[in-house]
Symmetry: D2
Subunit: 226 residues, 4 copies
């Protein structure tokens, strides 16, 4: 499953609204909109739903996290091998709700690359984003934690954060794609994010907990193709 | 899926030998032996394989770990809801490779009980086993970490640990079932464990990495029904 | 420095009000009240102030935490040897702001005992208190986290928690002394805690952040000796 | 206490050989050699010894770690305020034995700077060093973990690691001073490290556990001033 930019990446978190069958329905809605508008939409379901969702849809599926430990005596860990084996094509790393040590991020990126998994590393500030881009992830997603789940979009409330993040990250590693997230709920938020230099958005509650997620996704996609 | 005792609980860990299709084959072998001998055999696959294995076999499936956080903004966590939804009937907790805080163990047990999930809490010493039995898990598995993966069985090398664990745990909470683990590789190890008062075994490499896991499981089961 | 019961144990936390010279003044006030009323008052200063305070006063000094790792290649850890060497006679463990794994608590208690350091293990619930008492600490302090720093005393708001904690802990390990904490701000809170079966109180903001800590301590001590 | 380069920074770890009075003697030896050769030598004692050592010697004293949490309800944490108050002038961060989350490193650096504390951030690889230099520490110390305590010096065994680290770090942040560590035991190791572009060394067992630490320090210092 190929990831292209601009990218809309939906983090399912552990919301009940995205668990099991509801998660499959959301992935199918994402797939429909993706096909209709020719925009790449990816989903990051809960661990135990990844395999089923990856079977049911033809859009990129991400894990929400993985552990760099090699296969072996590691009870309760998420190996890159199991993520790959379940049909995912990439993973989030270092989300604000699952922060990682700097050396663990490097190890996780290295292990993911070896297996051909894409990595989207989250950062709370431009400076941390700049730092993490040195570790060669495919994407860095800037998310000011105070705006996550707030309904106040980062692209409107803190445009300078996205702008400086893009500049700082590209100065260290021009190959890294910059996403942004936190509080994104409609197409104008997405559009503004693109204008500021980001190449995609990481969304969660704004889509997952919406009354009509497909409508929100259509709004995002139509704005991006206008 | 009902768990009965004596119980053979197979921890898949993150071995490559138990990932994906190989994990399904192992679960089917366990199912065959379980049916043949009328002995309860349960499996604890890697997170991303739980759903598929729970669909394919009719033996109890456990998670290797879960997080007590409620559904919501918790990226990269394993909710009890997702474990239940995937078809598992219980979970390991506090394995020596995934130790937890004391208060987290209580929260995880409470959350699991609310959803009807069984809990098997691991402990490194008799005294920690005694302590954790106060938190009302269904099972406590005693595993001296230095014997895990050693091929030297706890029931032969440290019989006094199992004996004292059974006594100490029952003195605090007679309802708790005591399992033992670490280094168990053949039927005589299992038999000895039962004689010392345990009601089951937690096994991993001894089965998963065996040349012929079904043969090992048959040896375990036949000894228990002799 | 001998600890006797009833015990008033003052957790300095990392308040500015208890740092450096202000911490020494508070310890001296505690020493005066202790001498005046013949009641044991102990202090748990910030790590870097322990040595100085232990030199300046003749009351028991506790660490707020310690790590069980043996002396060696462990940069940035607090060894029991360093706590002992600095003149402290004991330590808090597993405070709600510094929770520990169950096995680490056992290791920390064992290491402390070997060096003659007293241990006061904190627990958020009666049941966790019961569990931790199996690990043979000298004291268990019950502190419902939601009341910490609230000004609403556990002894008045949740008397049943203290009562059940005392019963459950004594049923497992009669040698353990039960303290209680959270929200204790005056003598009637302390008195009520004693009536419910606790043998001391663990206090922090109620004393440290008081306008006149000595007055609060006098109120505590005079109530206990009335 | 001013830090100048080349810098010899002695990490006391939690060795018994550097605890209490032995730690003071080592600091006094470092002070003598520092004065004799005009080379900056700093020490990083165990937390509870910092205050006393900072009083007894006139060389820079570092903490081995600190926590970024603000003063307040944080039991068992090491605040920058307490490090400063005890007389230290800086801190190690992210040592291989005390790794930190990427965002915590940024917060710790920010908090340290606010109080005028120097930061020396450790990294296991050139790439992690490059990443962490973006967070604006004063120093980055490159230490391949497999060589720590080995007696095989990084400057001889992995010269290319130091060389690439210096280049990569300076490309992101020319203001950062690069130290190197792991396995350094004599003056030729130090000299080689300087030739490769590092501006100092981080040493531990090579000095602390030496039969005659002062002799080793003299060897280091004389090589640097030759």
């Amino acid at each position: 499953m190929k990831v292209t930019y601009p990218l809309i990446l939906i983090n399912y978190k552990t919301y009940l609204e995205s668990l099991g069958n509801r998660g499959i329905l959301l992935a199918k809605a994402a797939e429909r909109i993706s096909t209709e508008y020719g925009i790449c939409i990816a989903v990051a379901p809960q661990f135990l739903d990844i395999q089923k969702i990856a079977t049911e849809v033809s859009i990129p599926v991400f894990s929400q996290h993985l552990d760099p430990e090699p296969p072996g005596s590691h009870t309760g860990y998420v190996t890159p091998e199991s993520v790959k084996g379940a049909g995912a094509c990439g993973t989030l790393l270092n989300h604000s709700e699952r922060r990682l040590r700097a050396d663990t991020i490097e190890d996780s990126i290295t292990r993911s690359k070896e297996l051909g998994l894409l990595t989207c590393v989250c950062a709370n500030t431009s400076r941390v984003g700049m730092a993490l881009s040195a570790l060669n992830p495919d994407m860095v997603a800037i998310e000011p934690p105070e705006l996550i789940g707030s309904g106040i979009s980062v692209s409107k409330a803190k445009p300078e954060v996205i702008k400086s993040a893009v500049e700082m990250i590209k100065s260290v590693n021009p190959a890294v794609h910059v996403l942004c997230g936190a509080g994104i709920t409609d197409g104008t938020d997405v559009l503004r994010a693109m204008e500021l230099g980001s190449e995609g958005v990481l969304v969660a509650s704004g889509v997952v907990k919406a009354k009509d997620p497909e409508k929100i996704l259509r709004d995002f996609a139509s704005t991006l193709t206008r």
